[in-house]
Symmetry: C2
Subunit: 249 residues, 2 copies
C-alpha cells in the first residue's frame, strides 16, 4: 500500500496549494511551501506557483482545477484532519467529479491501529479518499494522504507533510539545480546595468540580485543558478571581475 | 506626496501577490505575506488569498489581472529594485494597459537625495511608475511603492514592505477581529463531532481545530474567531464545558 509512482516522466512543473484559515489570519506562519520549495529545488524540479486559500470549498475546488490544468503536478497541504473545518478530501473529490468513499484497506489499517472501540467518527472520517485515489502512507501518521490524477494531497502538520512529500520525492526527480551566491560590496544600483548585460549573454542560467546591508552601507547579493555547473562557474568569474573593475573606478 | 486614501469604503477582501524566484526556489523564506496577514487581521480586514509567482512577466500580469478582478484590493511584494530581474512595475503597467513612465516628482526627490552624479541608470529605473499611479512613500526607502486602481505595489525587502503597508493600513480598516484559543487535553478526533455541532449552531463565528502534542499524547487547539466578542466568549464557555464532559466519560 505504499505509493508506487506511475509517472514515467518526472514532473517538470509543480504548484503548491496551501489550505487553511490559520495561515491567512496570521495565526500560523506557513512552513510547508518553504520546505517543499527547498526539497524540489534539490531534486531539480521547478516550483512554479504557490497559492494559499481559506477553508472554503468553492475556493479550494476552483483553485485546484486551475492549478491541475496549468501544471504537471499539484501538491496540497492542510485540511485532512478529523474536524469539521477539514474539507480538503471532499474538495478534491468535487474538483474531479468523483465521490468521497471510505477506503477499505485504509479503514482496516486504522482499525488495527486504534482498535475498533477507539475508531471514533472523527478518525473514521480520515479513512475517506476520493474514488480512484491511492493512499500515500508515510512514517509519521497512520492516516494517509492521497494521490489522484496529478494531485498529491498531504497533511498540514509540518512533520507529517515533510514525511509524505519525502515518500514520493522520486516522482519529482529532474536534472539537479545548482546555485551559488556572490557577495557584492556595492549597492545593487551600481552594477545593475552590467549585470543585466551578463544575464542577456547567458540565457541558460538565471541571475538574481538582492539588496543587502553591511553596517550603514547598502550592498548586494548576486545569486546564479541553473542546471549547468560549468556555465555557473564561468558566469561567477565574469561577475567577480565586473565587481573588481567597479571597485577600481 | 504621501499616500492619501481615496477609498471611502475600506477594502473588505484583499489578496497578496508575492513575486520572486528566490521564494519559489527555497532560497528565501516568505515573510511579507505573513506580516501582512497579521496586520490585516488586527485591523479587521480579511486576507482572502496569497499567490506566489516567479519573475516571469506573463505570469505576473495574468495573476495580477485575476486577483484585481476577484478582490477589493491587491498588495504586491517584490521586484521593484534596480536590477534586470525586477520587473514588477512594468508588469503592473502591462496589466492595466498603461505606459511605464518616469515620475517627475519622484525623480526630483531621488536626485535631491542621491545627487545628480550618483543617480545611476539602475536608480533612475526606480523612479518609473505606471502612468496614473500614485507613489507610496514610507520612512524606510527613498524609492516609492505605487498605488494604481486597487493595487498596492510594495518592495520585497521585509522592513520596507512593512513600512509601506503600515503607511496605508488605514485603507484596510474594518471591524476588528478577535481570536481566542482553547487548549484541549484530548486528540482532535475525540471531540470532532461535538465541535462540528457547536460550529453549526454558531455560524457568525469561525471555529478552527488544530492538532497539538503534549509529550507522546496527541492534543488539540481550538481557535474561535470573529467580530462579535460576546459570542466568542459564549462559545468559549460551551466548548470548555464540552471538553470537561468528555473528561468525565
Amino acid at each position: 500500500m505504499t505509493h508506487a509512482s506511475q509517472n514515467a516522466i518526472p514532473h517538470q512543473s509543480v504548484a503548491i496549494l496551501i489550505i487553511g484559515n490559520e495561515v491567512l489570519s496570521g495565526r500560523t506562519r506557513e512552513a510547508n511551501a518553504w520546505f517543499a520549495a527547498k526539497s524540489l529545488f534539490d531534486v531539480g524540479c521547478k516550483l512554479s506557483e504557490v497559492a494559499i486559500v481559506p477553508d472554503i470549498q468553492d475556493k479550494i475546488v476552483s483553485t485546484l482545477r486551475r492549478l491541475h490544468q496549468q501544471y504537471d503536478a499539484v501538491i496540497t497541504s492542510g485540511g485532512i484532519g478529523p474536524t469539521h473545518d477539514d474539507i480538503t478530501m471532499q474538495s478534491v473529490a468535487d474538483a474531479f467529479d468523483v465521490s468521497l468513499l471510505e477506503h477499505a484497506d485504509t479503514l482496516q489499517m486504522m482499525t488495527d491501529y486504534y482498535g475498533a472501540d477507539a475508531l471514533t467518527k472523527g478518525r473514521r472520517r480520515m479513512a475517506r479518499l476520493p474514488d480512484g485515489a491511492k493512499p500515500i502512507i508515510c512514517e509519521k501518521s497512520i492516516c494517509p494522504g492521497a494521490f489522484i490524477n496529478n494531485v498529491y494531497v498531504f497533511a498540514g502538520v509540518p512533520h507529517i507533510f515533510a514525511s509524505q512529500l519525502t515518500s514520493v520525492l522520486g516522482d519529482f526527480q529532474g536534472i539537479a539545480f545548482h546555485r551559488i551566491e556572490i557577495e557584492a560590496n556595492h549597492p545593487e544600483s551600481s552594477f545593475a546595468q552590467e549585470l543585466s548585460e551578463i544575464q542577456a549573454q547567458h540565457t541558460a542560467i538565471e541571475i538574481g540580485s538582492y539588496p543587502g546591508r553591511c553596517g550603514n552601507q547598502p550592498t548586494g547579493k548576486i545569486c546564479v543558478s541553473g542546471t549547468d555547473e560549468v556555465q555557473i562557474a564561468q558566469v561567477k568569474k565574469i561577475i567577480e571581475q565586473m565587481l573588481k573593475d567597479k571597485q577600481k573606478t
